[in-house]
């Protein structure tokens, strides 16, 4: 597998996630100094504890237009690669969620992302080059009870990336959606403890980070405006076990 990342300017949205930290480590090993965003002070602390001063940290809250605007006005390096790992969890039966929560959830996970991406596209357009990877979830395709808001916001975000890929291909900006199955991190990790039969299909953060890195290489860029499922057969298992799916 060719793993040469030719350009500089690697920005990880949601950089304090476990996958973000793993990805940053791989980039540092390859002599790249990524830019990692965090939405909270706890996220910043996690990045600093795990990676020290080797990475650049920036606060970015997708629910705030001011935060997005401030980010772009202070952006002092060309971003060539965007890896989008930012996504809040929301678990509730569809008809149980509080109105206010529904509104704020879509504001930060869909509307805020759309505004952020609009400006990121314009930023990349200056150099007529860009690679965007959106890390999605099999939940965008197979919805289990309680995942309606999470799954629908993932699906909407996937559509944003597809649209960018289709519109901006003539200007050298390509996109890819990477749909993950279960990952040994965060919520996925606790779910695996409750459902040990899924252990064999679980992915590690390092495996996901390696895949993301590949999709940022020249060969990986051949995959464009589409989605790739990385789940070790998890979605097939879902169908077979009738755990969900549509």
């Amino acid at each position: 597998m060719v793993r040469t990342i030719e350009r500089e300017g690697f920005f990880v949205l949601g950089g304090s996630s476990d996958i973000g930290i793993s990805l940053a480590r791989l980039l540092l090993e390859r002599g790249k100094r990524p830019y990692l965003s965090h939405a909270t002070s706890r996220g910043k602390e996690k990045i600093m504890d795990e990676l020290g001063e080797d990475v650049r940290c920036v606060h970015l809250d997708l629910s705030s237009r001011d935060s997005i605007s401030s980010f772009f006005s202070s952006l002092d390096l060309p971003v060539s690669y965007l890896v989008d790992l930012a996504h809040e969890r929301m678990e509730s039966l569809f008809a149980s969620a509080a109105d206010k929560l529904i509104y704020s959830y879509y504001l930060s996970n869909v509307a805020g992302r759309a505004i952020f991406l609009k400006y990121m596209v314009r930023h990349m357009l200056k150099g007529r080059w860009g690679r965007m990877i959106f890390v999605s979830s099999c939940a965008a395709r197979f919805i289990n009870p309680g995942q309606s808001y999470y799954a629908s916001s993932k699906a909407a975000s996937e559509a944003l990336y597809h649209a960018i890929g289709v519109e901006m291909a003539p200007r050298g900006i390509s996109t890819l959606v990477l749909r993950l199955g279960y990952v040994r991190a965060g919520r996925g990790d606790s779910f695996l403890k409750e459902h040990p039969f899924l252990e064999e299909v679980a992915l590690t953060c390092e495996e996901v980070a390696e895949a993301i890195l590949f999709f940022c290489t020249e060969r990986g860029r051949c995959f464009s405006s589409t989605e790739v499922v990385m789940d070790r057969g998890f979605c097939s298992m879902l169908k077979k076990l009738s755990l969900g799916g549509r």
């Binding site: 314009r122 357009l125 200056k126 519109e167 901006m168 003539p170 200007r171």
Partner: protein
Amino acid sequence: MDRGEILVKIRDILGEILDISPDEIYPSSYMIRDLKVESIDLLEMAVALNSVFGIDVDEDMAFLKQLRLVVERAKEEERDRGVALREAFPHLGPERIEEILSEMEDGPVLKVGDVVAYVEWELEKS
């Protein structure tokens, strides 16, 4: 920055985007009819105008995107179309507004000179 300097920069921007010589671009050139500019070119142009002139570009205004809508709405509301256009596109002079109204049926009316006028108007504001 005067209108001539703005025009030079805009011709350079358009020349690079469209991969043509700036010498082939005139204030009277129709962007879409003559230069075959597409919507993605306008987006790239807006980004370049922002970068070169340091202005926040209102693409609807700069590229007269809502022009037909403004005219239709004026017609529905039985308002003077010229007045409605002057309100929507304050960077355009009365003569240009009259010209636009007379040539609307012939196709997209946006000219390079309209973008120059928009940039000049934005720079004067700031």
